[in-house]
Structure formats: structure tokens, C-alpha cells
């Protein structure tokens, strides 16, 4: 009886957005009298930080610092339609809608600035700090604060824009299954290292090294929080979680966090996250949706590592100590 070490690898891809498309999201953007920008949505922030990302996307597009943008969302009286926050679609779908709305608002903003500066709008650029300047002659500039005041009180212009993003729905061909499930895919490869106690069947995940390709990390810190959390969830799926431990038997289902097991702080694997960025053709600044994908590769990587450690396959999730011991017993008998 011994503690045995093993490692396993898994590589995966994952589609962004609802399968087969047909999932719209809209956004509205307008400026306040002093040149702050309000983004109105009905998308839901699940705690992953959607509001922050939408603010950064709007700020980048209009050309102002992120703290000049306010997100008003999840209210059906004010926000235009969003299909919902699921299917790794929030950043991709809502982000594209915000870009379209922000571009329209930016155009009006530049037109007003052009009138104030007596130049052509196409000769203007934003400096990202809250000013609009003539390309190649940055000394000729006006603040967005003043442009907004002018638009509101002098020129009677609404600095605003409408955005809509919809990938037309694809209908699978009945006999061949020809279809367009998604327009872009995120990728991952995970290597897991485990220790398996062949006396108790207990698995300790020592380390997971996750490489994720997500199009573009719009906010690297928030990408990290989501990917680390997802990696934990993948390990949890592999080794711990189920509401029906003796499926298809319905008995013994957990009803609270004492009975429904998940890894606690003492069970955390050393988690390494490496991010690659291959911008997608239709993502906001190339972003793809990594929200679901990031919890997938750890499951088979851990399963393969368990086999590498003790030479038995557990092809039923979760890979519990009981299942490992039964497999070891069968192997010894066979």
C-alpha cells in the first residue's frame, strides 16, 4: 500500500454563445451633460464582473477613461433586451452591442467637437484621457466635458447610440447535421498532477497547470479570477460533486454543504494559469467567452492522472475513493 503519483493531460475547445446562435443582445449609450457616459442594458451580472467589462469596452470605444462610464443594467423598464447571462455569451454578445452603441455616440461627439473646433470630424481623435484633439496637432483640442455641454445646451445634439448584436440562428440539417453552432471557440490544455492513496482511494490534486486561449483578456485580473475559479470547479466535478451519489438510484442525495461535497481550502491544488490571445474575428476586441470552458479540461486531466498513478480507469463521475478502491479490487482479482 502506497501513495502513488500520476499526471494526466486534456485538451479542449468551447463555443462562445448560445448553440446555433439566434441570441440577441442590445445596448444603449448616452452622455450626461458633463460628458460622462451611461450604458443601459438588461444583462445580468452574476458576480463575474460583467458591469466592469462593459464599462471598459464602452470607454475604449468612445475614447474616455473607464471611470467616466456608468453601467445601468438588469432593469426591464430601462434596459433593452438581452437574452441573458449564460452560454459564455455575456462579454461577446453584450460587448459587441456596447461597441456598436458607443461608436454611434462617439460619432456624434466628434461631430459636435468638430463644430466647436471648426475642423472636419474625420480629422479628430480622442486622447483616451477625456479630450478630443486634431490628429497631428494635439494642441488644438477640446475636453469631452465641454463637448457634452455644447451638445446639450448649445447645439441641441444627443450624444447617444444604439447597439444590437445578433448571430442569425442556424438550423441543423436533419440527416447530415450540417449546422453553424458558433462563430468562435476558446481553447484550453490542462496538465494535472495527483497523488492517489491506493489503500484509501483518496486523491489529492497537487497541481494543475492550465493554458487557456480566450481571444483577448479584456481585464486580465478579472480573467484570472474567473479562470482560477473555473479550474477549482473542474477539480470539484472530477472528484467530489453529485446530487445523486448512487445514480440512477435516487437515494442519498445531499441537501446541504455538509452532505454535498466540494473541495475546501485545504484541498486546493497549486493552480497555474497561462493565457494566450488569438483574437476572434467577431469578438469585442477579439474576446471569446471563457466562462464555461475554463471548468472543463481539469475533469479528464485529473481522471487521466488517476490512471497514470494507479493503473485503473474510473469512467464514472465523480471519481470517488469508493470507485477507485472498487476498481483496484477488480484489477487485483482480474
Amino acid at each position: 500500500m502506497a501513495i502513488r503519483r500520476g499526471r494526466g493531460v486534456a485538451a479542449i475547445n468551447y463555443p462562445t454563445g448560445m448553440n446555433l446562435g439566434g441570441d440577441p443582445t442590445q445596448a444603449l449609450v448616452h452622455s450626461t451633460p458633463t460628458g460622462n457616459f451611461m450604458v443601459t442594458l438588461s444583462s445580468v451580472d452574476l458576480g463575474q464582473g460583467m458591469k466592469q467589462i462593459m464599462a471598459q469596452i464602452c470607454a475604449e470605444t468612445i475614447g474616455v477613461p473607464t471611470d467616466r462610464v456608468v453601467i445601468d443594467t438588469a432593469d426591464t423598464d430601462t434596459g433593452p433586451h438581452c437574452m441573458g447571462t449564460f452560454a459564455s455569451r455575456g462579454t461577446h454578445r453584450a460587448g459587441n452591442a456596447v461597441i456598436q452603441a458607443a461608436k454611434e455616440a462617439r460619432q456624434v461627439m466628434l461631430e459636435v467637437a468638430a463644430e466647436e473646433l471648426e475642423v472636419n470630424a474625420s480629422d479628430l481623435e480622442t486622447d483616451g484621457q477625456g479630450n478630443i484633439q486634431v490628429k497631428g496637432a494635439p494642441q488644438k483640442s477640446i475636453s469631452i466635458f465641454d463637448v457634452a455641454l455644447s451638445a446639450h445646451f448649445k447645439r441641441g445634439r444627443s450624444i447617444s447610440g444604439r447597439g444590437m448584436f445578433l448571430i442569425p440562428r442556424s438550423y441543423p440539417e436533419k440527416e447530415t447535421g450540417a449546422m453553424k453552432p458558433s462563430t468562435c471557440y476558446a481553447h484550453a490544455c490542462t496538465v494535472a498532477e495527483v497523488e492517489v492513496d491506493d489503500e484509501t482511494g483518496e486523491v489529492t490534486v497537487l497541481a494543475v497547470k492550465n493554458v487557456f486561449e480566450i481571444g483577448r483578456a479584456l481585464n486580465p485580473k478579472m480573467v484570472e479570477q474567473q479562470l482560477v475559479g473555473g479550474s477549482w470547479m473542474g477539480i470539484s466535478h472530477a472528484l467530489y460533486e453529485t446530487t445523486e451519489p448512487y445514480y440512477p438510484n435516487r437515494d442519498h442525495g445531499g441537501t446541504d454543504f455538509n452532505q454535498y461535497l466540494m473541495p475546501g481550502p485545504g484541498d486546493l491544488a497549486k493552480t497555474e494559469i497561462i493565457v494566450l490571445e488569438r483574437p476572434s474575428a467577431d469578438g469585442p476586441f477579439g474576446a471569446k467567452g471563457p466562462g464555461e470552458m475554463c471548468a472543463n479540461p481539469q475533469i479528464p486531466a485529473v481522471a487521466n492522472a488517476v490512471f497514470d498513478a494507479v493503473g485503473v480507469r474510473v469512467d464514472t463521475l465523480p471519481i470517488t475513493p469508493e470507485r477507485i478502491l472498487r476498481a483496484l479490487k477488480a484489477q487485483a482479482a482480474g
Binding site: 499526471r7 479542449i12 458576480g47 483616451g128 486580465p220 446530487t243 440512477p248 493565457v275 488569438r278
Partner: protein, 455 residues
Amino acid sequence: MELRKDYFADVRKDGLHEIGQPRPRLDSPGHVTGKTAYFADRNFPGMLHLKMVRSPHHHARIRSIDTSEAEKHPGVVKILTAKDVPHNVYTILILIQIGPEDETVLADGKVRWKGEAVVAVLAETERAAQEAAAKVKVDYEVLPAVFDMEEALKPGAPLVNEYHGQNYYLYDSGECRKVRFGDVEAGFAGADHILEQSYQSSPIEHAPTETTGCVVVPESNDRFTCYTNTQAMFFTLDNASIILQMPGSKLHFVGGTVGGGFGGKVDVIVEPIAILAAKLTGRPVCFIYSREEEMQISSPRAAEKVVIKDGVMKDGRIVARKVTGYTDAGAYSRHSPYGAQKGAAHYPGPYTIPNVWIDTYCVYTNRTPSSAMRGFGVTIGDFALEVQMDKLARLIGMDPLEFRFINAYRDGDMKAHRQPTEGAALIECMQEASRAANWPVAEKYMAMSSYRKEA
């Protein structure tokens, strides 16, 4: 976290102002100091609490319901049964034309899973509602139940859901969603090795910190405000509008920060009945799942069975792959027909295989309806596919990582569902994993590219 900017540098423009910056989240201080407001932080004068009487049986006919004792219980204000719900039989994906309507808001004549909602009790306090719910008498005639997907698909199995008429979802393509590419039997015939394996999972709970729920307030302007933690505002509003036969203009949904979704809050379960209760009582109504309800009543990730048959050559090429996927929907559809179909689109995984055959089934059993959960349709499939890949590599005596390089999809490769591959990056992920994990592979694999033609 490490951002490896050297990969794909030739296809990416950097130098943006706000994008790519690790700006601190404006909502973080609220979360870590406990000041963020969630829907359940709202309290209203006169607010009622809703508790469900639930089926103790997996499958039963309801002979009669007697609420007389419960009605007398102190604090009870209203008791609702199926006849009170205007459009009681519904299905949420009807909004995108995926029917039939197959589920009841409150059970009508039958229950099809243990825990199904039968009677809604509204009382002044949570405790009174709970105690009164225990006094509702439902007379059941227990029926045979089926829990195993294979059993459910056999002729003569108990019929789970009459709205479907058989124990599987009927797609326009028949009993399963199909993908056919190349000639899979010819591929097997020409293969050096064949490996057929079966993989199984069981239901998994989303386990959000905040359980599912809503608070509904009847407003003076004849509208209803629904404070909810749904993941999809209009999806829920529009479904509530159908169930209640109430114009959508009467409904105002307010969300906010949700304490964890993971797909567990895209079924439309708590809102319609709570709005109905608010309408019939004229008082604010609160309906929040207990932890036990969240664990065993709210939809879990479906159990899946995945059977994979591969034909592989000694040099590492997979020449044929047949996948049969079974998704255990439980008693009702919810999002499971969608999930099973997503599996058909996902297989055979991120690999280029010339001969592919895929069938994915959505099967009905007498268990808690499953539905959306992070990655559903793909997550368990990836477990099966990637364990299968490991087995295949070992079968032909090849390094598991090198085996994946040989089969990895690249830009321009035709997928089984007949879309050319675009934007692939699997090879680069594996190259970086090889370096980071000190798992060496042959130089020719490190020189590969998802998008550049090799010299």
C-alpha cells in the same frame, strides 16, 4: 496568471487604452464588505411568504387535494392549486420555438418526480407557510417510475411525460440529433485498432452561494415589480407573461448582482407563481428556495452517458469516431433538448476526423428535471472524449500529448458539422502546456501552427 503575448503576436494589435488593463472592479468593495444589495435584502410591509407542498413520490396520480386544514392554520392567507394558474402547462424554450409545452407550474392530476410542486401556500411568516404546507393532504396513487435512461428507452417502460408521448425528445431529425460525415463504417474497417468505451456521470448541483428566489410587489399603477436573481431578465419576464396570460407591460423585472448563477437561474420557476400570488392577494410575496430545495429541487446538471467508438491507426491518426450521447432530462424538458443538441455540435471534439457519426438523445426519467449548467452539453462530453484520447494513445503506445497534436484541428479543416475551422488555437495551448508542465514532445510538434502553413 501569466499572459503569453508571444503567441499570436502577428495576428493581434495591442496598444489599447482601457482594454487589457487590470482595472479594479467597482463592485468589489461592496462584495467584500457585505454592502452589496441582493434581491432578498428587500423587505416590504405586509410581505407574504410562499412555500410549496411537494410530491413525496417519483411518479403518482393525484386523486384529490384537501387544503381545508391548511387554510385554518394561523397566518395562512391564500392557497394556490393548478386551477389558479392561467396557463399552467408551459415550457421555457417555447420563446425560441422549442416545444412542446410539457411542464406544469403546479401539478395537475399527476406528479412525475419526487419534489414536484403541487400546492403553493402563502402565509404571514415563513414558519406559518411551512407548517400549513405540512397540513395539505394530497391523496396519491403511486405509479411505476423509471430512473435509468436505458430502461426508459425500452418498449413498455413507464411513460414519464404524456406531452411527449415517448421517453425521449423528438427532434425534427427523429429520436436524436444526428451528425453524419464521411463513411464511419469504412473508417472502422480500415482502422488498425478499434476502441469502444462508455462513460457516465450523475447530476451535479450549481451550489450558488445565494439560492434561487424573488420578491414581487404589486404596484399602485396595476403593475408588478419582480426583484429577482434570474440570469435572464426578459426571458423570465416573457415566460411569466405567457404563464400568467398577463401583458408584459404589466411586469417590471429588476435584477442586480446575483450570488452565483452557473446556469442554475435560467429556469423560470419562482417568478410566475410569486407574481400570481401577489396578484391574487394584493400583497408583496417572497419565494426563496431553501438550501435543500436548491440542492434537490432546482435543476441540476444532467447525468449523461457517452459511448465512444474510435478507429485509430498505428501512426496515431483517428480515422473514424462514432459517439452516442444520452442526456437525462428528468421529468421535463427545460433546457435539456438544447443541451443534448449542443453535444451533437461539439463532438467529435477539437480534432479533425474524416469519418464521424453522432447521435445525441434527450431522455425523460422520473427524476428532478435537469437543465442548464456551466458547459452543459459539452462538459461531460469533454470528460469522455479526453479520457478516450488518453486510452487511444496508450493503446498504440504513443505519448498522450503527441497523439493529440497529430489529430488537432487547424484552420481550414472541415468539421463534422460541415463548418471549416477558423481561429483554432488548440496546438498553441498544447505547446505552452508542454513547456509549462515540462512534458516534452517531439520538435516537429513544437513547430506546428494552428494557422501558419508549415514550410
